[in-house]
């Protein structure tokens, strides 16, 4: 003891630096919390993100639905053309049959 207890206590209780490793960990943790706070501290940002996601999903679904409808319409159109062609052919055959019957009936008349 130096005879001055106050002075000895000041020396004994002099502030000490933490280790550099600890400082590094502390700063990293503070930065991580700040980043988390920045996102959670702005609820509107989350709402905007949710709304954007919903719009994106809806838009993609709508586009897919339209694409599907267009494909169905094209298929129906092709089937209609095919049906018309078959009908036209059948009518031609019927007409020819009727015409040939009429031709046979005229000479014997």
């Amino acid at each position: 003891m130096s005879g001055d207890l106050d002075q000895d206590l000041r020396r004994a209780l002099r502030p000490v630096e933490p280790t550099p490793e600890f400082t590094f960990r502390l700063l990293a943790r503070v930065a991580k919390q700040r980043r988390a706070t920045t996102v959670t501290g702005r609820p509107w940002l989350r709402q905007v993100a949710v709304a954007a996601s919903v719009l994106l999903v809806f838009g993609l679904s709508w586009r897919g639905y339209q694409h599907q409808q267009r494909a169905r319409a094209l298929q129906a159109h092709a089937e209609l053309l095919k049906a018309l062609a078959i009908t036209s052919r059948s009518l031609d055959q019927a007409y020819q049959a009727v015409s040939s019957l009429d031709a046979e009936r005229v000479p014997g008349g």
């Binding site: 002075q7 209780l13 502030p15 933490p18």
Partner: protein, 174 residues
Amino acid sequence: MNADNPQTGAAQWAAARAGDAGAIAALVREHQRMVYSLGLRILRNRAAAEDLTQDVFMQFCQKLATLDGAAHARHWLRQVATHRAIDQLRRRPPIATSDDVLSLVDETEAGDPLLANRLRALIGDLPAHARAVVVLRYQEDMDPTEIGELLDMPLNTVKSHLRRALEVLRAHLT
């Protein structure tokens, strides 16, 4: 944070409150020694002091927007660190391991390092509030009025803790 230049300090404080990562890191670097040392001297356990320092700074970052300036921030950190250390000491006192005791010996410090370590060990045997009063008086160089305000303790109680603690220390050292 540059405490010597009030304008720079104010600008950095404003930047920290606005969320500037560099300014917040500067604040942490400036005050970590004080917070860590309070934890170390009161808890006498390096790991417990590190945990306390981390917890205090996590809370500090959340409170940053409510603090008025650098002086208020320092007062807040000192107060929260001391109260947390006292609470922990009363709830679940950490064990001062031999490693922690050794780590408290600073070979480079002025004066007698063995005497300093003996004093720290004796302070570590004081009751929680008396220990905190002595640490605030001699580590932070606070007067009894300031200590009373910080710990929400009547001035006479602070003086009484100090007087009794010094008597105990003198008795063990002679």
